[in-house]
């Protein structure tokens, strides 16, 4: 285990250092990220102002604001974006340089993403957390969040991170079969945003879409941990929710392995 971490930790270290190198680019990205969070909240304020009822689908305005803040928090804790790496590695043939290393490609990529994830945790997760704590105290809405569940929330988010990585990694293998890189990224983003609850709470969905969401892993990435911290999943439901996440991690982990070995066996590697 220690050897494993030393070996693969090197990939995380490298990508973290690259992120530090490009900190200006990344800080702009962070800025954009918070800006869009602000816009989303303003949008909800407008929606509630025009709503005849104070409560929409079980959320008051203040609860909806917290929902968005917490979803933002889970989004940055679980941040993993292997699709863009796979697309780049494949498109210009750089993947051969990863394949000559005595290390699994999927795990190399996981750790490369972990380096970026660390950066996102420093510059998005921490500020978002402070923002949530501040808003919570300032609005005297201390009971909107289940602070006691915080450790469980962290654990659930960690499971979300694995689900996010595996699901995206599996999806990214489509690149090898279709040669389409840019379109894949857009498609994946859209699917993830909708079904992870990043756009709107999943209980806003009509019945059939809800059912579909239940068959997809994405709820386990952001929605499940968010609902834990929001105190909306408690007791035996909470255990069930974590159980669902664990099952997804195991299932997707195996699936990723299968999909990857199939891709590798018929891989074309571009360029001399």
């Amino acid at each position: 285990m220690k050897r494993f971490l030393r070996k693969y930790g090197a990939f995380a270290k490298g990508s973290f250092e690259v992120a530090v190198m490009y900190r200006v680019h990344i800080l702009l990205w962070v800025f954009g990220d918070f800006f869009s969070l602000g816009l989303t909240i303003l949008l909800w304020v407008a929606i509630y102002a025009n709503s005849p009822t104070e409560m929409i689908r079980g959320f008051t305005l203040i609860q909806m604001i917290f929902y968005n803040l917490v979803i933002h928090l889970t989004g940055s804790i679980t941040y993993m974006s292997p699709l863009s790496d796979v697309a780049e590695d494949y498109y210009d043939g750089r993947i051969s340089m990863s394949l000559i290393k005595p290390a699994s490609y999927a795990i190399q990529l996981f750790f490369r993403n972990l380096g970026n994830n660390l950066f996102s945790n420093l510059f998005i997760t921490l500020p978002t957390f402070l923002l949530i704590a501040t808003v919570s105290l300032a609005t005297h809405q201390t009971d909107t969040l289940a602070w006691l569940s915080f450790p469980i929330f962290l654990f659930s988010s960690l499971l979300g991170l694995f689900i996010n990585y595996f699901a995206n990694f599996i999806f990214s293998n489509l690149v090898f079969y279709t040669d389409a890189t840019f379109g894949m990224f857009q498609l994946n983003q859209a699917i993830v945003r909708i079904f992870s609850g990043a756009l709107i709470p999943l209980n806003f969905f009509p019945g059939w879409l809800r059912t579909l969401a239940g068959f997809l892993p994405y709820a386990g990435v952001q929605y499940i941990p968010a609902m834990i911290l929001l105190g909306r999943t408690t007791g035996s439901d909470l255990l069930g929710a974590i159980g669902v996440q664990v099952l997804w991690v195991v299932f997707l982990g195996f699936a990723a392995q299968l999909v990857w070995s199939h891709s590798l066996s018929r891989m074309k590697v571009m360029g001399g």
Binding site: R3, R6, K7, G9, A10, F11, K13, G14, E17, V18, M21, Y22, G93, R94, S96, M97, L99, I100, K101, P102, A103, S104, L264, S265, R266, M267, K268, V269, G271, G272
Partner: protein
């Protein structure tokens, strides 16, 4: 030991018709064509051998290297490297090999060079003492210290290649694959690369497989060459042997004043040899004749031409290796 048996790799390509119409048509039903990039090749390479793998562009060199390194899975046939099948046991094989692809780098583009080496140290699980020893060895022969603190993207091509070769050799691999490692390098940088490869081979008995278009690389490093053409190995043997056989020609260039056409020379019948044994070209005032030196002496040939033309200048050449290989590519086969 590297054993390659009936190795074949086919690529499926989709041929598209020209123009917008073709593009649209191709979107739905492009014509499938199968390209045999490597076609049923077999060879064995022993430990410590340095083998030159040469062939024209598109001959299948890189595809072979990719299968030997476990990046590509063959369509059929087999590769075993000390018993390990690289594309089935990629990670195990990767511990024992070093690879340089001339057009790529395994270094971290944005980070100082030293970081790439530190990362490699962890990936190959090297201990501190071994790492230090290797680093100082490569520093000595490749002068990495000059630029070890610079980000890789700021290095010159020659510096980057030096760094890349050090990176590929750092963990002391048993087999080193070099795919056009000297491409684009100047004479000095090329020499440095060759020295490093040679020293590694002497010090650790590293097996080396080298593809290149620079036959000086081959002449200096390899005692054995494999020539591949259109996916097939057309020659496997020593450089010496091929020089003996194909080096049995001489070339004489005459600068002549007359306006005679080369075909009317009829030299084959004059010297009583088969017309294929002579290669006569005429370009402006330059008449160039390649002939078998064992059948016709330089004196005889010169005398004959001097007798028939008004000659201003004469130069005599041995057959050079580029010429030999070009001729082999042309013929697509080697007859020894």
């Amino acid at each position: 030991m590297i054993e390659v048996k009936n190795l074949t790799k086919e690529f499926v390509k989709y041929e598209k018709e020209k123009g917008l119409k073709g593009l649209l048509k191709g979107f739905f039903n492009a014509k499938k064509v199968i390209k045999k990039a490597v076609d049923n090749i077999s060879f064995t390479i022993n430990e410590g051998e340095m083998v030159g793998y040469i062939g024209a562009n598109g001959a299948g060199k890189s595809t072979t290297i990719k299968m030997l390194t476990g990046i590509l899975t063959p369509t059929s046939g087999e590769v075993r490297i000390d018993g390990i099948i690289p594309y089935q046991n990629r990670v195990e094989n990767a511990k024992r090999i070093g690879v340089v692809f001339g057009q790529r780098t395994q270094l971290w583009w944005d980070l100082p060079l030293s970081e790439s080496f530190l990362i490699l140290k962890e990936i190959y699980e090297m201990d501190d003492a071994f790492y230090e020893e290797q680093m100082s060895f490569f520093n000595r022969i490749l002068n990495l210290d000059e630029f070890i603190k610079s980000p890789v993207r700021t290095l010159s091509l020659g510096q980057r290649m030096r760094a890349d070769i050090a990176a590929s050799l750092l963990h002391n691999p048993k087999v080193l694959y070099l795919d056009e490692p000297t491409i684009g390098l100047d004479v000095n940088a090329k020499q440095r690369m060759r020295d490093a490869i040679k020293m590694m081979n002497q010090k650790y008995n590293t097996t080396v497989i080298l593809t290149t278009h620079d036959l000086d690389d081959i002449a200096e490093l390899c005692n054995r060459i494999l020539i591949i053409d259109n996916g097939k190995v057309i020659y496997d043997g020593s450089l010496h042997e091929i020089k003996e056989k194909y080096g049995t020609t001489k070339r004489i260039e005459f600068e002549v004043r007359d306006e005679l056409n080369a075909e009317s020379l009829n030299l084959a019948s004059v010297f009583n040899v088969h017309p294929d044994e002579l290669e006569i070209t005429r370009e402006d005032k330059k008449l160039s004749i390649v002939f078998p030196k064992l059948k016709i002496s330089v004196a005889q040939m010169t005398e004959e031409i001097l007798r028939r033309f008004d000659v201003q200048d004469i130069s005599i050449f041995d057959a050079d290796i580029e010429r030999i290989v070009a001729r082999i590519y042309d013929e697509g086969k080697v007859t020894l």
